[in-house]
Amino acid sequence: MSVADRTTPGTAGATAPAGTAPRPRRHRNRRYVAPLLLISPSLVIVAVFVYGLIAVNIRTSLTDANSAATVTGQEPTSFVGLANYVALLQDPDFQHSLANMAIYTVVFLVGALAVGFVWAWLLDKPIKGEGIFRSVYLFPMAVSFVASGVVWRWLLNSNTGDSASGLNALFEMVGLGFLQNSWWSNPTWGIAAIALPAVWQLAGYVMALFLAGFRGVPEELREAGRMDGASEWKLYRYVVFPQLSPVLLSALIIIGHMSLKVFDLILSIADSANYSTKIPAVDVLQYKSSFEYANAAAVGTILLLLVALLIIPYLVRTARAEKDR
């Protein structure tokens, strides 16, 4: 697309004699100066703040800097290899965090994708008021998790009966009292309740992705299906839906990696020290406040690995697709 810079002679090249001889090195170097000047501040920043810090963090995770004395430099730290990782993975508390993260990911992923997909499907064909539906479905994206956490904390309050609020009170009111439950206070499944506000907040985003996908299906394809006498359902099932698989993959990866990082919602609905909603992303904060820096660094590295497993193939795929364009 934009190969102009490479294939056409630049200002420096214009003065060079015509011919096939390689341009003098000095001139070639000068062409690199301006772009480097523009981009190098950011390159340095990203190199230091992303990759440099990741490296330092990994190094910390391999030491025994797990006490106030070692962290503040009063006592020396020593290299302990993967001992922190081994201890963490054997710790029932951290296993609970990992299990919570898995439950949360499944509920959030399935919920957000299903709801977002249905919204997009309902809005695919022209309908009056589409703009309003779209804007309302999307608006929670513009609100912070902390602010929405305030209202969801009320909605998901575990009190029942006379002291109930939120959904429990609503169930009582409409005669569905048996549906009342302890929501996020349940030690095993409580984390799933935190996925509800997350679905509420991000289903609109998934809808926008899918809607773009639906609109990207060429009209000729649908028309061809109609000519063949396909019913509206079959048209979707065999013509439209298969075209959406790249969108589905994007949505899976983006929502999936977000679910590994959930932090704000848990702190605002529950608390960073709450056992039933404990996850690795919050454990980092807990370890840091108790001066267990090596453990905090190790948990951070585990999270990074999980995210990288999802994101790197995605980025590589995207870069390849760009090249082919």
Binding site: T8, L38, F49, V136
Partner: protein
């Protein structure tokens, strides 16, 4: 490849969501009625928390029983709002002081990077771009321990707003670079070529040709950065206190810090804390969606 792989064109951010001309449906079909019913049910689901926020924020202390939980206030009062405003006003002011410089600086950096990466195919350009993009997805928990050391101890940056401005600029670079790169890919090559023929170098071309046509790109990026920095909580928790931090931190402290939960006040506070981003969403929604769609790298 199929047309879904078009890069995000920032000039018309919601272009990909535009209605395609379709054959008209019959006016009254059962399918259409069903669709409306479902859409309205979902609309209610999405708006339920808004109803709760608004109603509760106007309730007095007497309305806190289970029976009246979902009812309208028996007497409407503004007490919660004034208490929340008193508690959060300083933090709201600080958040503006944080968000505005952070959004501007990271947009300028993003536009410089985006221009270079879209026009200059140096060796490994794609790899460099991908390495920058990866910074957008990392869990910040994976850098927070050495980051605290670097910012607070080595560089001596004061905790609170100064630290947070730096962090939002630094970790905003990937997304702003991405949006601007996609934006500049859509600028016709002839425009740049014309400037080059006139003898303008890359810097001159950037300043006199590219920047003037970048306004729509800047709108998208500024709005995106404004919203995400305003709503950030993670960095605030690690690099500020409720005394010197942004409104998310103050709100969390205000709503959850007290021993006895006062939902009326918390909900008024949540609405106050969300007002700026909601106004931006309502007034400039399509640009917000443009930024959001670029976050997916490509649809």
């Amino acid at each position: 490849m199929s047309s879904t792989t078009t890069t995000v064109a920032a000039p018309k951010p919601d272009e990909r969501l535009r209605l395609a001309p379709r054959p008209r449906e019959r006016k009254f079909s059962r399918g259409r009625t069903l669709r409306y019913v479902l859409l309205l049910v979902f609309l209610l689901f999405v708006l339920t928390p808004v109803y709760v926020l608004l109603v509760t924020s106007f309730k007095g202390a007497g309305d806190a029983t289970a029976d009246s939980a979902w009812a309208l206030p028996s007497t409407w009062t503004l007490e919660n709002w004034s208490a929340a405003w008193e508690a959060l006003a300083p933090a709201i002011g600080r958040t503006f002081l944080m968000v505005i410089p952070a959004a501007i600086i990271s947009s300028v950096l993003g536009s410089m990077n985006g221009f270079v990466l879209s026009r200059w195919r140096f060796p490994y350009a794609n790899l460099v771009f991908t390495l920058i993009l990866f910074g957008m997805f990392i869990p910040y928990q994976a850098v927070v321990i050495p980051l605290a050391q670097l910012l607070t101890v080595t560089l001596q940056v004061p905790s609170g707003i100064p630290s947070l401005i730096i962090l939002h600029v630094v970790y905003g670079i990937p997304i702003t670079t991405l949006i601007f790169r996609n934006y500049y890919e859509s600028v016709p090559g002839e425009l740049i070529e014309a400037a080059r023929v006139d003898g303008a170098g890359m810097l001159r071309t950037f300043a006199s040709v590219i920047l003037p046509i970048s306004v729509p790109g800047f709108v998208v990026v500024l709005i995106w950065q404004f919203t995400s920095a305003w709503n950030d909580f993670l960095f605030a928790v690690f690099f500020a206190s409720s005394q010197n931090g942004p409104v998310t931190l103050a709100l969390n402290n205000f709503a959850n810090g007290a021993l006895l939960q006062n939902y009326g006040q918390s909900m008024a506070g949540a609405l106050l804390a969300s007002a700026p981003t909601l106004v931006v969403y309502i007034v400039l929604g399509k640009y917000f969606i443009g930024g959001m769609m670029s976050g997916s790298v490509k649809g």
